[in-house]
Amino acid sequence: MFKKLIEESTGKSPWLFHINAGSCNGCDIELVAVLTPRYDAERLGFKLAGSPRQADIVVVTGPITAQSLPRVLRTIEQVPEPRCIVTMGSCPQSGNVFRGSYSICGPLSKYVHVDVDVAGCTPKPEAVIDGLALATKILQQKRREMK
């Protein structure tokens, strides 16, 4: 009976979990900037969750180093359905300046399905918010498809 309400709510309350897969911290700072007074993503319901169990959207930054790969995959696996995976910055998809290094296992899309890719080094907060909003739409879609 709450089906409609739940679908509606899924689009309005996406909680983020942020994974740093060897990032230079540029994207990480920028993700935090998204939540600051100037851009305030919380008005769209975004919130940083402390544990992957509570997250809807996983934000991955960094070029997926060999050390981080199994951890990233395990953490993504531990996020309950419906979930969205957003890569932030150029690194997770292309490797950026780290490309070709012996210790880089990227891109992430080799291992899991990536829903949204926000490119840029680093992407502007506006772009990040746009990407996250897109992910929210996908999330809502996934919820709708779950039976």
Binding site: M1, R71, R74, Q78
Partner: protein, 641 residues
């Protein structure tokens, strides 16, 4: 007087235990026979005492029984007497229940030990000793019974002499316990020198009002003697050692029964023999001792890392509640104290049996080595949780009912006397209760929940016999919590009234009119005792509400219209169902008992380290405490009484 008349029941009760002890020595080699004898000799006394409830509790009859029918001659008691009033019967019922249940438990629990017949002999001796103590009407017999029970308890403590600390605990207990027994003997004999009688009733008529120096000395000696048996504060390390080392079924007896015998002795002493409870200082000292016991022991318990030792410290903490409530000397106070004494026997018995079950399956009670047992032993865990909720005073279990009465009683006393000190006692009692909760959260987390270490993988549920015994106690915990009105009406209030009716006690024993004749106008009859409390609590309706609410919520939750996503769990190791470790693979990591409550312990670190140093484990120190306590008691008695 026919042979099967109810007047014989008290002596049968005591004799059945000793008879059982004897029969097991003779026929104990055969297991079935041994168990049959033990069962009959523990169930029999319980049945006999239950059959007396109607007469003694409801109709207020006092059963006096003279051995060999040697009734007093010319106002002079020469025979040995048993006297059962509501107070004695109340404690007798506690003893019989605990003994019976722990006996059922030990059938399976003691299977793997050597020398099991000796165990049952000692066990029944201990039971008989305590029963004799509470039913006796004779001071010297009380001493004999104290010696018997101390002996049996010492021997049982050392029974598993391969266990670390068992011998040590037994020796310390023997030394300090003997000091206590000697105090009781010396006090008894000094009283005899004054009154030329050993009969409790006659002493109670003669002693009050004529205090000489020797009488006061006797009071101090007897008081300290019974404090040793109740393990009140300067004697608490012994209890901790003894409970920790003894087999669980014996710990039930030591904590649930032996301490009660001490409390019983104190009540008899201050309410009957010397009738000093109307003195403000006496009330102050009892309440003070009780409050110190409950607070010191609960903090000691928080610092423990052994399951049984932790429970042992909690025993003394709960005895502190009982003593505090009894020391208020109000109807509500004594009723609350006795209620709590009963509840303590039930829930502490349950907890010790649960600890025994854990020991039985895993071979250890170290909180740091256990964890996650709720998966392997679900029934034990559930029963333990009932016990833990009871002792922490979570409504609607029985611990809450009695603690709630104790809070009311202390605060009411404070309001009546205008003494803010009693309000402080209420505060200490409530804080102690929360600390108790904290330490049981610690046990729950580090034994039954959390992660399971490799060593515990082989644990399985304990045999039905053991669970059945625990189940009886758990059921009693719930019932006495749900029907506090019935318990107070039929058990604790008659007993509390009896505590005030020393005149009736004397007359029942020595013949009508004796108390008035000897004590003159001062004879305390049966005063009107008020049990009114200023609060309201009806557990049944609360529980009903909770059940309905829970049911409604569960129905909504399970109807599942909104939630098509099923709860899945897979047997094979899958990443998804591993615990979140910041991305690492799941590995064993348990937040152990010692790591919990850092925020609290850090603030109290000086206190904790002081207490740790104080409990040095050297028997000389503990004896010194006993001697100092004795000296203080003597000084108090000589100056104030």
């Amino acid at each position: 007087m026919s042979f099967l008349s109810y007047q014989h029941f008290p002596i049968f009760t005591i004799m059945l235990y000793f008879l059982g002890a004897f029969l097991i020595v003779v026929f104990g080699k055969a297991k079935a026979l041994r168990h049959a004898v033990a069962f009959l000799c523990t169930a029999g006394p319980l049945a006999l005492l239950i059959s007396l409830i109607g007469r003694v509790m409801v109709h207020g009859e006092i059963i006096s029984y003279w051995m060999g029918n040697r009734t007093p001659v010319g106002d002079y008691a020469i025979g040995i007497a048993l006297e059962v009033d509501a107070l004695s019967l109340f404690f007798g019922l506690l003893v019989a229940t605990a003994v019976f249940v722990a006996c059922l438990y030990s059938f399976r629990y003691m299977e793997r030990d050597h020398n099991v017949p000796q165990y049952y002999t000692l066990y029944l001796m201990l039971a008989g000793g305590v029963m004799g103590l509470v039913l006796s009407g004779d001071l010297f017999n009380m001493f004999i019974m104290v010696e018997i029970l101390t002996f049996a308890a010492v021997a049982l403590t050392a029974f598993r002499n391969k266990v670390t600390g068992a011998l040590e605990a037994a020796f310390k207990y023997l030394v300090v316990g003997s000091i206590g027994s000697t105090c009781i003997l010396a006090g008894t004999i000094i009283l005899y020198a004054q009154a030329r009688t050993l009969n409790l009733a006659q002493l109670a008529a003669v002693i009050p009002g004529n205090f000489g120096v020797s009488t006061k000395l006797a009071f101090a000696l007897l008081f300290i003697g019974f404090c040793t048996k109740a393990f009140i504060v300067p004697f608490h390390p012994l209890a901790a050692d003894a409970h920790g080392a003894a087999p669980a079924s014996v710990s039930v007896l030591i904590s649930g029964v032996l301490t009660k015998s001490g409390i019983y002795g104190i009540i008899r002493l201050v309410f009957f023999l010397f009738q000093t409870m109307n003195l403000g200082t006496m009330q102050f000292w009892l309440v003070f001792l009780g409050s110190v016991s409950m607070f010191v022991c609960v903090t000691m318990a928080l610092a423990q890392h052994d399951f049984k030792r932790l429970l042992a410290f909690h025993s003394i903490s709960q005895i502190g509640y009982v003593l505090t409530a009894v020391g208020l000397a109000t109807g509500l106070g004594i009723s609350a104290g006795l209620y709590h004494a009963m509840n303590h026997t039930l829930f502490k018995g349950l907890l010790f049996l649960a600890a025994g079950a854990v020991l039985h399956e895993t071979g250890t009670t170290d909180l740091g080595k256990l964890g996650g047992l709720a998966k392997k032993m679900p029934h034990t865990a559930a029963l333990f949780l009932i016990g833990a909720a009871s002792i922490s005073g979570i409504p609607p279990f029985n611990g809450f009912a009695s603690k709630w009465l104790i809070y009311q009683a202390t605060y009411q006393k404070a309001a009546e006397t205008g003494n803010i000190g009693f309000a402080l006692v209420t505060v200490i009692a409530l804080v102690t209760s929360t600390l108790t909760l904290a330490s049981f959260v610690k046990v729950t987390q580090s034994v039954f929940f959390g992660q399971m270490p490799e060593e515990c993988k082989n644990a399985k549920e304990v045999p039905f016999g053991m669970r059945f015994a625990m189940g009886i106690l758990a059921l009693l915990c719930i019932l006495t919590g749900l029907f506090p009105g019935l318990v107070t009406r039929y058990l604790t209030e008659p007993a509390a009234k009896a505590a005030f009716a020393a005149g009736n006690y004397i007359n029942a024993m020595m013949g009508q009119g004796y108390a008035e004749r000897i004590m003159g106008a001062a004879a305390p009859g049966a005063p009107a005792v008020s049990f009114a409390s200023s609060g309201v609590w009806s557990p049944l309706s609360w529980l009903l509400l909770l059940m309905i609410a829970l049911l409604a919520i569960c129905v909504v939750a399970l109807s599942g219209k909104y939630d098509k996503v099923s709860v899945r769990s897979s047997k094979e190791v899958e990443k998804k169902y591993q615990l979140f470790y910041g991305g690492e693979t799941q590995s064993f990591s348990q937040v152990g008992g010692g790591d919990l409550f850092w925020g609290f312990k850090h603030n109290w670190r000086h206190y904790f380290s002081f207490m740790h140093d104080l409990h040095s484990g050297i028997v000389n120190d503990y004896s010194l405490w006993a001697v100092v306590a004795l000296a203080l008691a003597i000084v108090y008695a000589l100056i104030v009484l």
